[in-house]
């Protein structure tokens, strides 16, 4: 490790320990890291926004890489780059939010992006999460018969799986729409629905446990391999 990397590793290790100190109890070191993290993340986003978006998608199309202003008409053709001006103006309206007297101007930028987002969301959610999902359920056959050399056999495993899947989707949907306590068929179906949901929540929690443990392993690996072993190696002790 060179000096700068070693310094960085120590910095990283100290910050890691600051955050882990929360396990003992809430304390100033944790708070320091917490606020620093939020600040640095926001700053990171701003810098990316500048280099990966504002420059290539707004500044360069408007002024060109050389900084020259676009001409209105170029070789007898309307310069389409000028359309980018509209984008810039719409974007700038967003900043008016901070000035109460003219805050209404920001409605243009917001309305544009909300409208566009709503239009696309309408199409893609309907298609991918609604129609395809319903189709994926109704095409399942509760009775699966497979053909083999000996003739037709009833595949009870697949049949049961399909039946359960169909019942699960329907009953869980019933639960969503009638979640308050209900009597009769609707109530019974909703109760069945919540059992399916509970199993899937349980599965999700199993996965969550897995995810969090993996992250801890990642950090411990850093502390053991990069920080302790790395430092000892650099100092020639290992």
């Amino acid at each position: 490790m060179d000096g700068l990397t070693l310094f960085g590793t120590w910095l990283a290790a100290i910050l890691t320990l600051c955050i882990l100190s929360f396990l003992y109890k809430d304390n100033p070191f944790y708070k320091f890291a917490e606020y620093l993290f939020v600040g640095v993340s926001a700053g990171f986003w701003i810098a990316y926004n500048f280099h990966n978006l504002l420059v290539p998608n707004l500044v360069v199309p408007l002024f060109g890489a050389d900084g020259a202003l676009p001409k209105l008409v170029e070789e007898g053709q309307l310069d389409l780059r000028l359309l980018t001006v509209i984008a810039g103006l719409l974007g700038i309206t967003m900043l008016f939010r901070f000035f109460p007297k003219v805050a209404w101007v920001s409605r243009y930028g917001i309305a544009f992006s909300v409208g566009l987002g709503a239009g696309l969301a309408f199409v893609v959610y309907l298609q991918a999460n609604c129609i395809y999902q319903i189709w994926g359920t109704v095409r399942l056959s509760p009775v699966v018969i497979t053909e083999s050399a000996t003739g037709w056999t009833f595949d009870w495993g697949a049949s049961l799986a399909n039946t359960l899947l169909i019942i699960g989707v329907v009953s869980a949907l019933v639960y969503f729409y009638f979640s308050k306590e209900h009597k009769g068929v609707l109530g019974a179906t909703a109760r069945l629905g919540i059992w399916f949901l509970m199993v899937s929540f349980g599965a999700a929690f199993g996965y969550t446990v897995m995810a969090r443990i993996s992250l801890l392993i990642g950090r411990m690996e850093f502390l053991i391999d990069d920080w302790i072993k790395g430092t000892l190696t650099t100092l020639g002790l290992l």
Partner: protein, 288 residues
């Protein structure tokens, strides 16, 4: 009885300590256990294998350092596989941190393979906007990405020469830690442009993608560290994920033991209360 009460109201910090030990010890003394490969992981591998050399694979880095221990090993394993099969890789990001993580992933990978930036791969950088970004890629790559991450015009990069829009992409691999991520790619690139989407994601989000697997909207899925370890196993590379699975195993066992202890103490105390004729209480809980 005293012990049961102690167990029921155990100081949370004792649990913390046990978890730390369960993670650290196997990291120092590995057991070398192997994971079984699921069909979801195998499907992704088969897809990459079946493409002819020189196919264009879009890899979207939609995760941040908080997901890196799980997802980064997937990125490394998948990229290794792509370059071993001589595919062209186009990297982009819907999360700003993803673009930066792609930089470090490629710094590691480019040392192992005979690959040239611009000819074999490109890092287009980050664009915010999720669904709309993907939708725009459906009509034009150069309009969304006039330049790569470093500001080089994409028109000058040979790898982008035949990529006009999403239709020119043979496979999308999304490395995802949330939305925008796999859900956005499935919603837009699959539903509107019929692209094949493969996914690698954090274990937290994996369960919600199973409906997509059943309909084929997602061709395969690597879920969490286990998924990463599976891909490492398939390509025969002993990477970090496989090594970490030992610690993962032990920690899971410890947590299951916690759950069992909590329940045993809960039931013993409940019976005791019932004998005394008291109603149910909120129940014992680990105290701070």
């Amino acid at each position: 009885m005293k012990f049961v009460r102690w167990l029921a109201d155990i100081d949370r910090r004792i649990l913390f300590l046990l978890i730390a030990v369960a993670v650290v010890v196997p990291l120092i003394f590995p057991l070398g256990m192997r994971v079984k490969v699921t069909t979801q992981a195998q499907n992704i591998y088969d897809q990459v294998e079946s493409l002819p050399a020189g196919s264009r694979i879009l890899v979207s880095f939609d995760y941040d350092p908080a997901a890196a221990p799980e997802v980064h090993p997937m990125a490394l394993a998948f990229l290794r596989h792509c370059f071993a099969k001589k595919h062209k890789v186009i990297i982009m990001a819907l999360w700003p941190q993803g673009a930066q993580l792609a930089v470090s992933a490629m710094a590691e990978i480019s040392r192992e393979f005979d690959i040239v930036y611009g000819r074999d791969y490109v890092n287009l950088g980050y664009k915010p906007g999720g669904d709309i970004v993907i939708k725009s890629l459906g009509s034009s790559f150069p309009k969304v990405f006039p330049t790569d991450m470093a500001g080089e015009p994409t028109a000058n990069l040979p790898v982008m020469a035949r990529v006009r829009n999403l239709k020119d992409i043979d496979l999308v691999m999304d490395l995802s830690a949330g939305d925008p991520g796999i859900p956005a790619w499935v919603r837009v690139a699959n539903a509107l442009y019929q692209r094949k989407i493969a996914g690698g994601c954090t274990a937290v989000s994996a369960p919600q993608f199973f409906p997509y697997l059943q309909t084929g909207q997602l061709i395969g899925l690597l879920g969490g560290l286990r998924g990463a370890a599976e891909y490492e196993t398939i390509i025969g590379y002993a990477g970090k994920a496989s090594r970490r699975m030992d610690a993962q195993s032990i920690a899971h066992l410890v947590i299951i033991l916690f759950i069992i202890f909590a329940n045993v103490s809960y039931f013993i105390l409940r019976r005791q209360r019932a004998e005394k004729g008291e109603g149910p209480k909120a129940g014992p809980s680990a105290s701070a």
